[in-house]
Symmetry: C2
């Protein structure tokens, strides 16, 4: 290969990597918006918005395939070594997490449509709070990935406790609602499912953040306990 060809290949490689990063940021942004819209459709009792959001999942899925293809092309055409290889294969795993986050947003919409048909059990306070934290975790986990920012990834992992605590709080509150008035059981379990979907979204963001630390540090941090002093 002469110098001009090599430079061209190199430029193409950098361009492909840049597009992969841009694609993942865009997909992350879309996943975030799907979470926000799903929770809005519940809080504002807007079933039309829920249906539009469910339809919007097709775009998340399209981007999942597109990002994966970018990763495969990078691997096939440029045979990257070491650091870049780890970056691209982590990208491949992250698309799956983002796609599942989208699925959970759809699940929230489905419960919203059901819940909106019944009288409102109570004003939603902790659910939007959970959603806000989960969204910020998704955003920051992707930012941590593209910037290879271990500190930010650690912050995401810490924030998972906030979501878990809110989930427990919602669970306890719903248990007392159900015990006081069995007529609320159907609606309460559906709200409980919504809180579980949000918890799972936060888990996906946590998984992404763990993979970022693993990618940068090369350590098996992803299965370590916080108490072991690694995170």
């Amino acid at each position: 290969m002469d110098t001009t060809q090599a430079q061209h290949t190199n430029r193409q490689y950098e361009e492909d990597l840049r597009e992969l990063r841009a694609g993942l940021i865009k997909m992350g942004g879309l996943a975030e918006r799907q979470i926000a819209d799903a929770v809005d459709s519940l809080v504002n009792r807007d079933s039309e918005k829920a249906r539009v959001t469910i339809a919007g999942d097709a775009e998340v899925n399209r981007m999942d395939i597109e990002c994966d293809e970018r990763c495969l092309n990078l691997l096939a055409l440029h045979q990257p070594a070491a650091g870049d290889l780890r970056f691209i294969t982590t990208g491949l795993k992250i698309t799956t997490d983002l796609e599942r986050i989208g699925d959970n947003a759809v699940n929230i919409c489905e419960r919203a449509v059901e819940l909106n048909e019944e009288p409102q059990l109570k004003p939603y306070i902790d659910i939007p709070r959970m959603a806000e934290v989960a969204q910020s975790m998704v955003k920051d986990s992707i930012d941590a990935f593209v910037r290879k920012d271990v500190e930010l990834a650690r912050e995401v992992i810490d924030r998972d406790d906030v979501v878990d605590n809110l989930q427990h709080q919602i669970y306890r509150e719903l248990l007392s609602y159900m015990a006081e008035d069995p007529h609320t059981i159907g609606r309460s379990t559906k709200i409980l499912f919504v809180s579980k979907y949000l918890e799972r979204i936060a888990d996906h963001a946590t998984n992404i953040a763990e993979m970022v630390i693993f990618m940068v540090k090369g350590k098996n941090i992803k299965h370590m306990d916080k108490n072991q002093g690694i995170l």
Copy 2:
């Protein structure tokens, strides 16, 4: 590279691919056993078994890292093209699903320990049935992957409906338990969570099966609806 070197590299490549397949089958088998043990610990009210199973998750996590390293080595050392590239990158994604299946088995154990401390609400009939189907889905999805067997992958995807129907059945039954006797609400919601964990395990197996079809056919089957006549 002379012929002897090339043959050596080729043999090493085949050997590495074989080890990846073997590693994934082993990891799948372990994930299956974790599901079975988790549900046993609930059905037989055996909290000691639940604790042993929770500890066993470390082995699933170790294998996750080991299989990923095998995939990365294959990509770095042999620069596989086309079909093999898709096989290895699918392997990378599958390890994540198996690892999450292990996490769900741990969640079942945690609920089992809590439930075993209270009087049994009812004999568990549908939960073990769900677990059995979910386990068979995990096994067959991995078999479909290593054999590149699209037919088997389709069967796995079809079986997901069985799990979903059982989950709905359990949900309806638990709703009526709770409505009849509010004292059962705490236990009922925990059993409901167990059924949700099993549903999620089946979802992971379905995702694996979808990825197998995508890998073999190269079609965007993974986000297609059954009604679109592709599956």
